[in-house]
Amino acid sequence: MPVQVQSLDNGATLKISPNGRFDFNSHREFRDAYQGKSPAAHYLVDLRGTEYMDSSALGMLLLLREYAGGDKAKIRIVNARTEIRNILNVANFEKMFVIE
């Protein structure tokens, strides 16, 4: 599953787009998308190309949140399709992330 990474707003925002299946096999790729790089002020996780997501993907989002400063993290999750939105809703992730 390719994870695309894009730097926006002169490096202030890091956009991460997991495509296809976002599950345990994406673990390393997703981590490499943000780790070892200069930390961004904002993170944007674009789920437009994400077809499937499991609970380990939720775990990966939590790892990103921890990396980005925990409660101070500024992470937006956008463009989730209905099924994926349901997964995020059941886990009540809107309490941890901005979901649009």
Binding site: D54, S56, D71, N89, V90, A91, N92
Partner: protein, 561 residues
């Protein structure tokens, strides 16, 4: 270490030329004069390469090669035929016999050396792959052994509570030895049933490791009388503390009080819990209101629960998302809609669980893809009996005399449920363990009365309708959260008696009291419901006396070992 090459030729000159050539290549050489000697040599040691003549006395090269290759171990020993024959068919026979290459005499030394090097390289590669393969096998074996050990530990911990509770049915269908799904159940000492249905992130060992502290906390706190909200908070704290950030535990904690006909749920990240009425229709859907356990900081944790009134014959269904995601034969998945459609009058109440399980096996084909869990709890009289609560450990020592007083402020009452804390104090009385359930009931009734009606001034008439029942508990938590005055005073006095003791509990609240001389507390529209608690107390205690303006109560419990 020098590599060993076997030269098989009946002509001495040929052998000497080859030895000369090989030794200059840095190889050790062993010689054989015919196929039979070659077999003997191969039986004693392993060769990196064999150079084989075809026509020899005793045993020719074809036969020798066939036998060497046939008896060869897992190692690869390349054979190069050196032959004077030019006939294509005979050269093909070399390969058929198991030869890996051939060269016709008179051979060019440069080409022979190149072929030897190439063969040795292939042989090295083969050895490397073989070695890695062995390592992989060892790791695999180790992994399986560790999983088996861990599985045993897991089972011991999870089954520690180990009572079969009538009225609960569980389908737990894991994908592997270790899975993230977990179902725990135990009875509180007052008889309420606690059930936890949960799903750890991912699969395998990492998912299963966390189930050990979870079940420890669940059983210990249930046995000490804590509520599911408190248990959820403790599990959350523990997982947050010990597990990495990406591991969390979606869980729903359920409490069924069959005596009070009260159902309480805390749902964090699990599919909806359903209350099914006696006609098999979905009466209530309890959706996830919380983050999964292990995600939220302790200070931010929300232990708010949903409270519902339930009737005998009603059922409670909980499942993991593995059930909803279960693939079906025609492609696609079971789906939430498919699950919800299972409930309805088309199937008898007693067959409901089997009907769902049956339809799952049908649609599964190759068996479950993900962990899937389904739990059914039937609310009935059997659940109300307190026969099968977790058995307390018994000690035989003498009890002592003591007295202890507590003054609980509004601040404390907002933060902690005093009943389990008092139970801890009382458990210090030796010999009293056997009466733990009864004592818990007495304490819980007295304190709930004092807090609900005395301090929070709730009217139990509210509870007379199912909607009012839920409202009552909502109102209770609202009032409790806003409580900024009032207090509760608790005195415990214990006097040993021959073969037992006499425990006096005095509880007074700061409320206005009530007219205890003419009416049971909280009477009025719903005297039956509210009077029941008092009736229960009178059967359990030697005496119950109200005093003051009704805000003080003294209960005496006499016990024998």
């Amino acid at each position: 270490m020098l590599k060993n090459v076997l030269v098989v030729d009946d002509d001495q000159t040929n052998r000497l030329i080859l030895r000369n050539l090989l030794e200059r290549e840095g190889l050790a050489v062993t010689m054989a004069e015919n196929g039979a000697q070659a077999l003997e040599a191969c039986a004693c040691q392993r060769f990196a390469l064999i150079l084989m003549d075809v026509m020899m006395p005793v045993m020719d090269g074809y036969e020798a090669t066939r036998r060497i290759k046939h008896s060869a171990s897992v190692h690869f020993t390349p054979v190069i035929f050196l032959t004077a024959m030019q006939d294509d068919e005979q050269l093909a026979r070399c390969v058929d016999a198991g030869g890996d290459d051939f060269l016709t005499k008179p051979y060019n030394h440069v080409i022979l050396k190149s072929k030897i090097r190439a063969m040795l390289r292939i042989s090295d590669l083969h050895d490397t792959v073989l070695h890695q393969n062995q390592q992989l096998n060892q790791h695999q074996q180790l992994l399986i052994e560790e999983q088996q050990i861990a599985e045993r530990i897991f089972k011991n911990v999870v089954n520690a509570g180990g009572t079969d509770i009538p009225g609960i049915r569980v389908l737990l269908s894991p994908t592997s030895v270790f899975n993230g799904d977990l179902v725990l159940s135990a009875r509180r000492s007052t008889g309420e049933l606690h059930v936890l249905v949960g799903d750890f992130t991912g699969h395998g060992l990492s998912a299963a490791v966390g189930t050990v502290p979870v079940s420890d906390i669940f059983y210990a706190m249930t046995s000490e009388g804590f509520s599911i909200g408190d248990i959820a908070a403790a599990i959350n704290r523990k997982i947050k503390q010990i597990m990495p950030a990406n591991i969390f535990f979606a869980a729903t904690l359920l409490s069924v009080d069959a005596l009070e006909k009260k159902f309480v749920a805390w749902n964090g990240g699990m599919p909806e819990v359903l209350i099914i009425d006696v006609n098999n229709r979905i009466r209530q859907r309890v959706r996830s209101q919380h983050l999964p356990l292990g995600v939220m900081e302790e200070a931010m944790f929300d232990r708010a629960v949903d409270v519902f009134a339930v009737e005998y014959g009603e059922r409670i269904y909980a499942c993991s998302d593995g059930l909803i995601d279960a693939p079906i034969a025609t492609g696609g998945r079971f789906t939430k809609e498919g699950y919800l459609e299972c409930f309805g009058p088309h199937v008898g109440a007693d067959q409901l669980f089997d009907w769902i399980v049956g339809s799952l096996h049908e649609i599964h084909g190759d068996g479950p893809q993900d962990d899937l869990t389904l739990v059914e709890i039937v609310v009935n009289e059997a659940l109300a009996s307190i026969d099968n609560v977790i058995a307390p450990v018994q000690h035989q020592r003498n009890s002592t005399a003591w007295q202890v007083n507590f003054e609980l402020s509004a601040h404390t009452l907002r933060q902690v449920d005093p009943v389990p804390l008092l139970m801890r104090v009382l458990s210090e009385i030796q010999g009293l363990e056997r009466h733990k359930e009864i004592l818990y009931t007495i304490l819980a009734e007295l304190i709930t009365n004092a807090v609900d009606h005395g301090i929070l001034r709730l009217d139990s008439a509210l509870k007379s309708t199912p909607a009012g029942f839920a409202n009552y508990y909502t109102e209770r938590s609202t009032r409790l959260a806003q409580l900024d005055g009032g207090s509760l005073r608790i005195e415990l006095l214990h006097a040993p008696q021959p073969r037992g003791g006499r425990l006096t509990l005095r509880i007074s609240d700061s409320g206005p009291g009530f007219d205890y001389k003419t009416a049971p507390r909280g009477s009025g529209a719903n005297a039956v419901t509210s009077g029941r608690g008092m009736h229960l107390l009178r059967t359990l205690c030697e005496s119950i006396e109200y005093s003051g303006n009704g805000n003080c109560v003294e209960a005496v419990f006499v016990w024998n070992v």
